[in-house]
Structure formats: structure tokens, C-alpha cells
């Protein structure tokens, strides 16, 4: 994947893992369990509730299928820029 490629070109790679909904749900719930975060206090499915397990898991699956692959596929040189939490502030470092 070349730097600057678009989201539409990543489709095949997003699905490279080929994980099913069930597998992703297991991953999500395992990760949350390791952190001590419990979704079971939410109703399983209740459209009238602010949040329910079904919608939270659907959102999380969508996120996992899109965001981590898109970022991981963005190639950067090892000698490229270091991580920058506050990019604009770095511009002050070169001021006279």
C-alpha cells in the first residue's frame, strides 16, 4: 500500500482477516473484559434505550473493520516523523 491511497482501494485488505461477526464479538468482549469494562449491564436489544449491547457491538465491529486496517496500511518510513501529540506546537521549535 502506497502512502496516500484512498479508502476505497483498501477494501480487499480490510477484509483480509476474514473475521466473522462472532469472532469479532469475541475479540471485543475479551478486550473489554481484560479492562474490566462490562457491557452486560446494558439491555441486549432495546431501540428505546440510549445504548444496548447489539448496537454497541455493531458499532465496534464496524470500527474494527475500518479504522485499524486503514491506519496500519498507511506506510511510513522508520526514519519518518516521530509521533507528535501536539503537531502545531512543534512549529515553535524552529522559531528564531
Amino acid at each position: 500500500m502506497k502512502r496516500g491511497t484512498t479508502g476505497s482501494e483498501r477494501t480487499d485488505l480490510q477484509d483480509a482477516g476474514g473475521l466473522t461477526d462472532e469472532q469479532l464479538d469475541a475479540y471485543i468482549l475479551a478486550r473489554l473484559s481484560m479492562l474490566g469494562v462490562d457491557l452486560s449491564v446494558l439491555p441486549e436489544e432495546d431501540a428505546a434505550a440510549p445504548a444496548d449491547q447489539t448496537r454497541i457491538l455493531a458499532s465496534a465491529r464496524r470500527f474494527l473493520r475500518s479504522t485499524p486496517p486503514a491506519i496500519a496500511d498507511f506506510e511510513l518510513d522508520a526514519l519518518g516523523p516521530p509521533p507528535m501529540l501536539y503537531p502545531s506546537e512543534s512549529t515553535t521549535w524552529g522559531r528564531e
Binding site: 449491564v41 446494558l42 486503514a70 501536539y86
Partner: protein, 588 residues
Amino acid sequence: MSRDPAGRPEAAPEPLDTRVDRRGFLERMTALTAAAAVAPGSLGAPARAATGRTADAVVPTLPASPRAQATDPAELTLVEAAYLIRTGELSPLELVTACLDRIERWDGDYLAFNTVLPERALDEARRLGRSRERSALRGVPLAIKDNYYTAGVPTTANSHIFRDFVPDFDATAWARLRAAGAILIGKTQMGPLATTAATTPDGERTTVNAWAPFDASVSPGGSSSGSATAVAARLAPSSTGTQTGGSITAPSISQGLTGIKPTMGRVSLHGIVPLTYTRDHPGPLARDARDAALMLQVMAGPDPADPRSLGLPPVPDFVRATEPRAPGDPRLRWRTTIGVLPDYLKGPDPAPAGGPGDDDEAVGEEGQDQVRRRAEAREGARAAFERSQAEIAARRAMLSVFEDLGARVVDVELPRGWETLTSSDFNNVRLPERSEIFLEHLRDDVRNFGVSLSAWINGLLLPATEYVRGSRARLILLRAILDDMLARCDVVAQTTPFPFDMVGLPLIAFPIGFESVSAASPRPIGAMLGGLPYAEDRLLSVAAAYQRVTDWHRRRPADPDGFVRPSSGPEGSGRSRLDLFDVMEVGE
């Protein structure tokens, strides 16, 4: 800092952004590590702020001869009110009383405030009325977003998590406003924890747009919704907001205001409930550029309690930046080139023609529902197209005005990789920051996050490898903006705040026209300009020059009794809800 004979800091001969080394800094900084990610005090029990500065240290000089023709004090701009109080023509008590009267009369419709403090505000007004202080904001009431800590006053961030929280100190930005003589009139409604537009924590819409108080389809802008409505509705002369993903600029545009999101670090975040460490920016929402400049002048500056605010270029004279370069000369104060991106004057394709089609002949209850939904979709597309056409016409007119004022307008190409670097996936790199901040609360009970829970859960799922890579990519985005986009211009007209929010660059929003939905219900149209790091002075000067020759910023929405109220039945009185997926679509 040297001062002129009137006691104000000497103006810089050039705006601050001319001293930015646009290209060279990257080569010099590669040996350095990332800036320290030092958070404000921990939630609920933060360290006491070193607010530090006295009123004397934050007193800008007020512009002389403000326009002050309004008879109702609540109609005055911030500068007008402060000036009249200083000259003794208006008392703080008169001004506070006028604002409280409007709040009492209309806030049941607007729902702009979480908390109103009438007794406290009146007491302060009496005290400051007796004072001889010449502080810049003496006796002026302000509406403060409810994520700013205010000592002794509930600070809820509109969340279940903070519902009983009463801080024992002021956020630095509010402490500076207070030290300059401002009065806290109330805390404003906001999106829960500064996500999305103002709703209850469970998603029921609250604050309305002052230009369409009974039309739930017209967004007030978020998450600083209450702050915007309070100013547009003349419940307070100015307000504060925070912006992580458009939350100052969007409500300013939605409600005909001038709002500025400064460069990261220019205003201390200490004592503001954090949403995303790297992208939260405090700033003012005001009636015009002069008011925004005065607010920012007071709010800005280094704060030992927030390392992000330290080591930055000195704060210039924002108020002076809004003045003409010579009396009576309307031209831009500084030679300025305005960049126009390829899509800035391009609208969507025309909406398909209305009327039932073949597929609208479905029968039965389900079929009728489909017909209704398609009709709504067509109507939505038609309205969006008309809105877009009005926006483009207003943008063309704005650029023409700027050319008349001496600006050079140039086309600017989108930098390489723009689509990827500014995509929602790369914008999502922010999510682990909020999840980390609130991890203990997530462990305690996820229900406390109400309708915006998804973003916090998703943030827990982004691996550290991708977080680091995304953080590296942000520097590439900054380089693309500085080296490609802003190499050919000083400011660039924007259609979305997200790219500049991602890298901490300043944005200003201001009104440039109206969409005439109906004669009784015009909708503001706004523009957004982005600039180089610490270019707040230039952005304010550009907006102020535009406002010297236009009057969009002087128009005010009618009071609620000037609009048609909905019927009192369940359909008319019910407030709509945001769904969890709506929040994901429009959230900060």
C-alpha cells in the same frame, strides 16, 4: 512588553504568522521526541490551578467610539457594553438585569443554560458597579460552557458522571475572564461530555437554534450549543466554548456568530473537563470579531498548570488587530492572500425531481412507510441542495468583498494524501485518548455514558501500534498543510474543521449571509478560515475587515414569540432524540 502612550502593548509590525518557519522546522525537530502529554488534573479531584494572572495583566485597551445605538443593554456587543460601563453610561446592574430578564422570559424555549445564577450575578454586578477598576470586562456577564470548572458552581459537562460535581477552583480561562471583571451569569448546555449537539445524556435534544427555536430539524451546532444560543438570543454578550471537532466553529456558523478556535496551547485547558487531550481547544463565541478578539485577549496566555500553553510565541494584541490600519481605511490591515480549495465553490449535483415515482406505488402499511421515507429523503436532498446553492453564492460574494478589501484570492490544491490523512479513520486516532481519560468511569458503569457510549468503547479497541502510527501521520498532515496548502496563501477557506482540529491549527468562523427558507425564518450562513500556527491576530483582522463593510453580524434572530409555535399535542411538544449511530456520525 513595551506599551504605547495609551498603555496598550505595541502592535507587532506584522502579524505573528509571518515569523513561522513554514518549511524548516521539520528538519530541525526530528531528533526530538513527542511533546509531553500532560493532562489536566485527574477528573473529579484535580490539582489546584495556578491561575496566576491578575486583572492588570489581562487588560486590553478597549477600542474607542464603539457603535452603541441599542436601547436594550442586552442588545449591546461585548465591546460596546464594556466601553459604556467604563465611561459610566451603563451600569453592570442594568446589563446583568437585562440579560437575566431575557433568560427568565425565553430560556424555557431555548434551553441554552444548565444553570443560571441570578442572585450571584446581581450581587457581583452591584459590587463591580461600585468598583473603580478599569479591567477590560468589568461588570460584563458571560455564559460559560458547562465543562469549564467554576468554583462553587456545579460543573456537569452535561454528563451523568459529573452530575453532582462542584469544583473548588476555576478553570484558568474562566479565572482570567473573572479577573478581568466578567460576571458568571450561567453555565451553558452542551453535548454530553462535549460530544455531538446538546442533548440530555440519554440523547433527547435540548438546546435549540435561536434562528429556528421551534424547528428541531435546524441544528444549533454542537457541542457548544448552549453557548451559541445564549449569545445569538442576547441572553449574554459573549460565551466560551471548546472545540475538539468543530464545536466552536459549527455553532457559530449555525447561529450567525463569530467564533475563534485558537491554536493548540494558546488558551490553557487546565480546569476544563477533557474530551481528547490533543484536540481540545477553548475559545470564545461572540457577536463579532472585535468581541471575539477581546475575549481571546483575556483568555490567552501561558499557564504553568498546562504545559501545552508554555514556550509559545507571546500573545499579540488581538484587539488592535481588529482595528483599521488607518482611520476610515476599510482595507485589510495586513496584505493577505486567501486560498480557495477545489470544492469550496462547488455544490452537490441537483436533487432528483420531486413527485411520486414508479416505486412509490407500493401498497399496504409497509409500502406506505417506504413511500413516506422516500419522500422525506427527496425533500431532505432538495433542501440540502438549495442550502448548498445559497452557501456557494454567499462564499462567492464574500471572496469578492475580500478582493475589494485588497486581498489576493488564489486557488489552492488539496495536498497529496489529503483524502486519507483527513479521513474518518485517521480522525478516529483521537478516540483512545478519551477512553483512557474515562477508563475508571467505564469500568464503573458504562450506562453513565448514555447515547455517546460507542465512541468510548471503540477507543478501547484501537491498538497502540495504530495509535502511534496515526500520531505520526498527523505530522505528515501538518507538513502537507504548511508546505502545500499554506505555502501559497496566508489563510485558507475551509468547508470542514476536522483537518485543522486534528493538527491544532487556528480557525475562525463568521457570518456571510442568510438562506431565506422563509421571510420569517432566515438561516445564517457562515464561512470558516484557517491559518498558520498562532495566526489568530491575522484571522481576527480579516474577519473584522469583512465586518466593517458588511452587516450580517449585526442581524439578530427574532424572539421566540416572533415564530410560529408548534401545536401543544404530543407531536408538537415532543423533543426529538439522537440515536447512538447519529452521535457516531456527528460526534466530536
